[in-house]
Every structure is written in structure tokens, then in C-alpha cells.
């Protein structure tokens, strides 16, 4: 599944949070979007999903396998979300409904998009939980989010995003809220699953080190504009723009690299 973002501009009130962004995610590719907080990277993800906050307007073009998403109806977009486009969000503490069991949440995309009975759904949720490395999947699916650790909850999020084998995965800083050790684990898991399922990936982060592990190409975002783009190796070792250089510096500053 391919994603083509063409001259995307997102305005909130009188501010342009995304300004003329163009980005290509060819089928099977792994592309990164990197920038500091406020650079507009999350807004891009939300624009693709049609989940921009109230008061935000998007112009430009976003095409999924040639199909235009901007301006599509909520119904159409809902049909694509969770089925052909899977999303992993940043904060595991708040991304899951606290009063619904983990298993039912993992199975939710299944039940929304297909005729899957309750028992079937549970079985597949257990399988998905095992796939993402959750301990004791049979028991875990009946637990509530607050009973799991942050890393475990993020695995739930990944299971939820991938359960329908989507063609495109959007990952919005999926490891940022985790501690360094868990980060490495979750990242490795992510890599493996994306490899196995051969999905296209758009990975959003502010950490160049993380990006270098999981993506091949990336665009650097600053104040809503792409200031540099290219293979991640190039960005890391031969940065041209000062923002990119700043990101590289930040990477060097962390003593423990996810290697």
C-alpha cells in the first residue's frame, strides 16, 4: 500500500502547523518523519487519518493507493482506519480505554470490520497478544489496561494496529513514552512485525537514533516545513540543515543508544 502526501497544509486557527508538506511512502517502504515537538509531525498523522482536532483545516492531497483521503466522508475514512491503515499512538497510559479489557480492545478492529463472533475474536486476540510478546496471553486478554505496564500496554497498541494486517502502519512516537530498555524491546518487536507482514510504514519521532534503526528514508520537519530529506544514513552522517544537525547532536548526547 502506498501513501502519497502532496503539499499538505494544516491550519489551526490562524497558525499553520503543517506547511506544504510533501512525502512519499511507496509500497513496502519504511519512511520516517522527524522533528522537534511542535514541528507538525503528529498533525500529519492525524491528517492522514482524518482525525484532526476541531478547528483544524487541511488542504492539499493525501492519496492512499491513489485514493484521495482529504475530503473523504467520515464513513469512508472510518472504513479504512483499523483495516488498511493501522495506527500506533504515543502514550500507552491514555491510549487505551480504562474500563474495557485489553483483549476486547485488541479485537475491536476485527469486530468493526468483519463478521467475527465473540469466541473467534477472543481467540484471535489471544493469538495477537502472543505475537507481540505479551506474557501468558490467555490471561492477559482479560486484564484491564491499568493492570499492565507501559511497555505491555504499548504492545497491546501494536497488536491492535496490526490485527487486520493493514497495508500501511502509522506510528506516532510509539516508543517515546517508554523507558530506554523497553524502548529497545518494543522497537525490535515493531521491526520484526513490519518485516514479517510487509506493511508500509510511516514512523514519526523526534529521535534520530530510533529512526536510524527502523526506517530507510526520512524527512526532517521544522515549523511544519520539510527542511531536509533523504536516506537516514545520510541525515545521520552528513546532515545539511541546522535542524538536522541539531537532531544529530541530540542523538550523540544520549549515552545509551538503542543499538
Amino acid at each position: 500500500m502506498s501513501l502519497v502526501i502532496d503539499d499538505l497544509t494544516v491550519t489551526v486557527g490562524d497558525r499553520r502547523v503543517v506547511d506544504g508538506l510533501s512525502l512519499d511512502v511507496p509500497d513496502g517502504a519504511r519512511v520516517g518523519l522527524i522533528g522537534e515537538s511542535g514541528s507538525g509531525k503528529s498533525m500529519t498523522t492525524l491528517a492522514v487519518l482524518g482525525l484532526l482536532p476541531d478547528g483544524a483545516r487541511a488542504t492539499g492531497s493525501i492519496r492512499l493507493d491513489g485514493r484521495e483521503l482529504l475530503g473523504a466522508s467520515e464513513r469512508e475514512l472510518a472504513g479504512l482506519r483499523g483495516r488498511v491503515v493501522g495506527t500506533v499512538f504515543q502514550d500507552p497510559r491514555t491510549a487505551l480505554d480504562p474500563v474495557v479489557t485489553v483483549g476486547r480492545q485488541i479485537a475491536e478492529p476485527l469486530r468493526l470490520h468483519g463478521r467475527v463472533g465473540r469466541r473467534d475474536a477472543r481467540a484471535r486476540a489471544v493469538a495477537a497478544a502472543a505475537e507481540v510478546g505479551l506474557p501468558d496471553p490467555e490471561t492477559v486478554v482479560d486484564l484491564y489496561p491499568h493492570q499492565l505496564s507501559g511497555g505491555q500496554r504499548q504492545r497491546v497498541g501494536i497488536a491492535m494496529a496490526l490485527i487486520n494486517r493493514p497495508g500501511l502502519v502509522l506510528a506516532d512516537e510509539p516508543t517515546t513514552a517508554l523507558d530506554v530498555t523497553t524502548q529497545a524491546e518494543v522497537l525490535a518487536l515493531f521491526q520484526r512485525l513490519v518485516d514479517e507482514q510487509r506493511t508500509s510504514l510511516l514512523f514519526v519521532t523526534h529521535d534520530l537514533a530510533v529512526l536510524s534503526r527502523i526506517t530507510d528514508h526520512a524527512a526532517v520537519l521544522s515549523h511544519g516545513r520539510v527542511v531536509e530529506r533523504g536516506p537516514v544514513e545520510q541525515l545521520l552522517h552528513r546532515p545539511e540543515h541546522e535542524v538536522t544537525r541539531g537532531l544529530v547532536e541530540a542523538t550523540r548526547a544520549t549515552t545509551w543508544r538503542a543499538s
Partner: protein, 317 residues
Amino acid sequence: MRRGAFVRELLRRPQGAFGVGWLTLIVLSALISRFWTPLDPFDTDPYSAWLTPSFGHPFGTDSVGRDIFSYVFAATGTTVVVAVASGVVATVVGVGLAALGSLTARWVRESVAVLIDVLVAFPTLLIAMALAAAFGGSLTVVVVAVGVGYGVTIARVSRSEIRQVARTDYVLAARANGLGTGAVLRRHVLPNIAPVVVVQLSLSMATSVLAEAGLSFLGYGAPADTASWGRLLSDLQKFIGVHPGSVVWPGLAITLTVLALNLLGDAVRDASDPRLRSRRTGRGTPGSPSTPAPSTAPPRATAPGAAGTPTTPGVVS
């Protein structure tokens, strides 16, 4: 926060402006009515009963010919006295109880905590009725009932605030340096819990206005020789079949005053929250509700990040 900036923030919002404006009107009326009213509120004239509103009687007259406007005007004094007295009592009781439940020995703290949790459920009106049964109805009964009844609510709110402050590093350092409990209270705790307490103060005053109205209506609040909105409602109630319109004025006065106090509480809370201060765009969050008695203030809707943009949910990256 600087005083001038705070006041400006307060008045910038419509809630604050209305609250301050109306309450100023009431307080001024209370002061003026001590010395002068258009007509004597208790002057009865059976031949002038039930007159429709006119220049001489802006609100008309009641069943015994009293000028309703003068009566409502004079009653502002009662309202202000009761509100202020209740507020003071409630705050003293509340903060005192909260301090007792936070900064003392463990067994004291635990007992006070349990006591507060138990007392919080007791409705103010029932306290008032008990007092009225023992001492007869009076405004003092209203003040004590609201003061104690709402004081416990203030205690509960303040206690959690105080505990948060007590855990901060600078307080721990101060105590390690030998600063006594009293000084800690004065210098560190009180300034920090002040905004919360002020909001609760305005809510307690709103409660007292409603309580006084209700109790006076029942006959256990203001005595017959004291002008009171609640009493007037009681007097007019008997004739509601024939003159339903007359009750508008005292009821409206009560409603607007309670509203003003509630809105003022909201506005004070918003104005003292640095996150909500506007920049050029001049728009804060939509008014977060506070409730008058019997409920405590509900949780606020989440405020956005620093910028004064309209509320946006979730992530702004």
C-alpha cells in the same frame, strides 16, 4: 500573580465582569438601604394591596400594601450579612479543620480525616433544622449551619491541597530547619491554597444565599421584622393562585445573586490559572462549571497548552 494583572484577567471574562458588577450592586444596595429606602418596606397600606408595577412602586405591592421594591432593596442587607458571615465561618472552620487534618500527629490526622468524610454527607438544611429546633429559627442558625455544613466541604478540598503542598521539597526543607507548624502554615501553605479557598468561599456564599432563602421561606431563618427575600417568597406564596407574577422579583434577586457568586468563583479560578491566560487572541477555555451546594465543584475540562488557541484535544506535536 500580580494583583493588577489578576483583576484585569478577572474582569476580562464575562463571568467575572458580571459577577463583580452584580455583587457590587448588591453590596451598595445593602449599604444604602441601611440608611434609606424609597419607601418603608414594612409600611402596610391595605388600600394599596396588589398594585401593578408603576413609577411609585416599581415592583408593585403585596397583599398588605408593602412596596415590594423597597422590601427587596432592604433585604439585600440581610443577604450580604448572612453571606459574609457564613463565608467567614465556613472558611475558618474549613481551613482550620484541614490544617488539623494535615499538619499534626498521625492519629489526629487519621481521626480528622474520618470525621470529615463522615460529616461531608450531612446536608446543611438538616443541620439548620436541628439548630432551629433547639434554639428557634434565626439568621444565626443559618450562618452556623452553612458555616459548619459547607466548612466541612472546604476542609476536604483544602486538606488534599495542603497535603500536596506539605509534600513539596521546600516545605520539607523548612521543617527540617526547625520551622514551626504555625509558621509553615502561614508562609507556605496558605498562599498556595489561597486560590482554591477563594473559589470555595464564593461557593459557600452562594450556598448561604440559597440556604437563607429556603430557611426563611420555612420560617426558620430571618425573623418577621427583618427583610429577607426568602420571607417575602413565603408571604407571597399563599396568593400564588391569584397573583402568580409577584414572586418574580425576590426570586430573581436570589437567582442573580447566586449566579453572580458562582460565576465569580469560576472566573477567579480561571483567572488564577496561568495556563488559561490569553494572549493576543483573548479567548480562554469555555467556562468550566462550578456548582453551588449541595455538590462540590466538579473536575474541570482539560485546559489546552500555553497558547490561547481554541481548545484542541489530545496531541499537538
